[in-house]
Symmetry: C2
Subunit: 508 residues, 2 copies
């Protein structure tokens, strides 16, 4: 550790031990904690508040593109689940299975499962098969199409190596499931939802992404095509932040989703599915957090501004508190991106320093201190979480209230710009196998914990190459870009012709 480094609120620092920093920063901000149920987490109010904001904003985008929410059963009969062969193979190893419908006491009075079920039920790891069973009933004619439905739900995938938010046995997500009349429409939907995801992550989470198609080996089990957005976080790894799947007629065939087409013939529907999860909360923490804690983009912060009264003397206390309330009230009447500004006045009697650090660790975008001297000057002391934690600015009270939305916008933009610069700084065009291996080998880095990044390199679609690279370096193809900037070249591993560079990285 650098002896000159200032003491930070979170230990270890990011460059010392990124995975441990991540655990500590989440604990310090009270976002979530592991539960005694293996792999399941408890999402605490501050973490859940972030998720609620994400939900609300994403949900509005789904509505804006014509989708409606619905809710389907948590349990999937084993026989349904088994209908799509690749699908069941992909999920079989991580399924929680309900086998009994009551508890009963044994001879010693000890509780044990009673009343075995005729057919075991799988706790949904994803809902294509159970939703498909309903769609098969609802869809009879081309007039019933498209079906555009989204579900907000919990899902369960048994996780051997859990990590808060990024990989948990139970997680919260949304899953869109649509049925279309034609392949073209379903493909357009798949792409449209990828674009929604990209825009949401960029504009709301302040995180830039690479988007594109997954290689065959990384596809959703049962999909024809999987599109994905990939964010880079501060240890330069990729996080798959959202996926959108074109399912062809595979699941329609498995579930019997058939309709009479315009020519009067029976045809299978064309389906898609797409999802984003509480993993996004972890992505935000890893993308923007610093050595003093979480740093939240204003658009998803549960509280955008916290007001901290400074009350050193009893005789000025009432006046300070009154002013704090007044400023809070004025701020709440302002609008930030069409939303009311969420303001919290923290009146707890636990000492100003303790309080200030709590809010730094929680990542509130703006901290506003108001004390007796500020009252005299009719000003407030403003600290932006995206700047050094000791940087404060004294701003006339009225001016601050007026400018608050603009300052929040500036923080949002600054976080995005910083994340974009970071990503660009650690994205490298690579044209040789040696350079590729060097780039992804920790020993070649000054700080072994943090090395590599995104490599843009030619690849000739060989699955063997993919497997070799994965086994050698734990590096995978994150996406094959969809855009038109196709650039012909040679695969750096095989020398064979390649039509475009793909994005490689280590990933969570």
């Amino acid at each position: 550790m650098n002896a000159n480094a200032a003491k930070t609120a979170i230990s270890p620092r990011r460059e010392e031990d990124f995975p441990e920093w991540y655990q500590q920063v989440i604990r310090a901000a009270e976002l979530a904690e592991p539960s005694d149920v293996r792999g399941c987490m408890v999402i605490r109010p501050w973490g859940y508040g972030i998720w609620e904001n994400m939900q609300r904003q994403l949900d509005a985008m789904f509505r804006g593109t014509g989708h409606r929410n619905a809710y389907f059963p948590l349990f999937i009969p084993l026989s349904y689940f088994a209908k799509e062969a690749e699908h069941v193979e992909g999920f079989a190893k991580e399924c929680a299975v309900v086998t009994h419908s009551r508890l009963e006491a044994d001879a010693d009075g000890k509780l044990r499962p009673g009343n075995p079920l005729t057919e075991p039920l799988v706790v949904r790891p994803t809902s294509e098969t159970i939703i498909g069973a309903s769609y098969a009933k609802w869809v009879q004619s081309y007039r019933d199409l498209p079906v555009l439905i989204n579900q907000w739900a919990n899902v369960v995938r048994w996780e051997m190596r859990p990590r808060l938010f990024l990989r948990t046995t139970e997680f919260l997500w949304q899953e869109g499931h649509t049925v279309h009349e034609t392949e073209a429409e379903a493909r357009a939907e798949t792409k449209q939802m990828l674009d929604v995801y990209e825009r949401f992550v960029r504009d709301h989470l302040a995180v830039p992404v690479f988007s594109g198609e997954k290689s065959e080996s990384e596809r959703f089990p049962g999909a024809v095509q999987t599109l994905s957005i990939e964010a880079m976080v501060q240890d330069r790894r990729a996080i798959q932040a959202g996926t959108s799947h074109f399912l062809g007629q595979n699941f329609a065939r498995a579930s019997g989703i058939q309709f009479q087409n315009r020519e009067g013939k029976q045809e299978y529907g064309w389906t898609t599915s797409w999802g984003m999860s509480t993993r996004l909360v972890g992505t935000v923490v890893m993308a923007h957090g610093d050595d003093d804690g979480v740093v939240l983009p204003p658009r998803i912060a549960p509280t955008q501004i916290v007001i901290l009264p400074i009350t050193p003397k009893e005789q000025t206390r009432a006046a300070v508190l009154e002013t704090c309330d007044k400023v809070a009230k004025q701020l709440r009447e302002m609008r930030y991106v069409d939303l009311p500004i969420e303001v919290e006045g923290d009146r707890r009697d636990i000492g100003g320093g303790v309080k200030n650090w709590e809010w730094i660790k929680k990542g509130v975008p703006l901290r506003v201190e108001i004390g007796p001297r500020d009252l005299e000057k009719n000003s407030v002391e403003v600290s932006r979480r995206d700047r050094g934690i000791k940087t404060k600015e004294s701003i006339p009270m009225e001016e601050f209230v007026r400018r608050a939305p603009e300052i929040l916008t500036s923080i949002q933009k600054n976080l995005y710009d910083r994340a974009t610069k970071f990503r660009d700084d650690h994205t490298r065009i690579i044209d040789s196998k040696k350079e590729f291996y060097d780039f992804f080998t920790p020993a070649n880095s000054e700080k072994p914990e943090i090395h590599g990044g995104f490599a843009l390199a030619h690849w000739n679609s060989s699955r063997e190459v993919e497997e070799q690279i994965k086994s050698d370096l734990k590096v995978t193809i994150r996406v094959i870009p969809l855009d038109d900037s196709a650039e012909h070249g040679e695969c750096i591993f095989t020398g064979k012709p390649s039509s475009r560079r793909v994005v490689w990285a280590k990933a969570y």
Copy 2:
């Protein structure tokens, strides 16, 4: 069936067969349907939209009373669940139990549960025990209190006789869980949340309720006191619409929620829990629906106004559609109880009559027809769902837009008044055992399907009497009112002194 009765959209009518009417009305409105998973339902977009509005509005009331949302695991280790003896006894018979964490193929390639868990997991039927485990960690000192948290979640209680919304194996709900420093504070919280529920059901669902305490035999398993609100629906049965429990120190003791009190001593916390569920959707259907379908209170309708273009001739079609869009846009800019008015323009080419009936069955508060003749007169044809389905009123276009919020308010009030009158008409003060038995005996009613109601009768707190009445008549004590209108008298069953009348009814 009365040969003179007009044909209705729903068959049977309410008075013919209320339970079957309920199934049919839900199907016709596309609110929900049974799934192939026994006891689980699929909540379709129109039904889920109602639930989303309930959630949003109730959630704001929880925030307003200082609560924050969080999320706890779906699975409860068997050992946690067993900690509170009454609790486990109350729920053991309806627990779904996860016993395996993967699927594997047997010799025939048939899938079966693989990898048995060391400790079985119960799918939460309610979360006192799993949330208690977290609270035990979070609460150390009186300074950490109160803990005021709510969770929106799915829960599972194995159901042998399911009924859509009212009784399903999986249902959606909110569960508040709080910890307090003193008994008085916890009791005040229990009562406060009952009041929130009562206000919500009255002002948002337009349903009046009786509120009060449950008798010992109807208490939540493990609670010291259970408060409840009880609505009357149109077959004169009661529906328990929400409950709020004072748990004393029972669950704190079971989970180890201890804190250092102001005197420096270790003490167990005082906890409460309270919940409302998707059962409310069924309550609204049964309370307000008529023989033509669902009738929705405007405050929770997913769409408050539907605009139906009448386009008999091709040459006026464009002008009609344009006007419909203009009116829709103007309406969306209006506010109804601080919310934007949700307006849907139904342009589907399926015939005006079919469309109109669809929206009647779905219960949209206002239907607005606009055709070529309305354009000439610059007016619209307005149908209120709370009036006879053939009653239409022609209103000048601008006036309608201006008055829309007021009309919606009037519909909301009318539904409440109607439900209140119905309840009052079927609530009877009863002072003899014979009258009580007559009141609840179908054979004494002209329409056997619909008889009885709420009986207000004296009772001397005898559990034997309760059991006898339940066994004879399937009638239970719904609540023991809390208010001050205590009236001394004699138990109509035993002749012993009684300090107040209690509310008796058949219930869902």
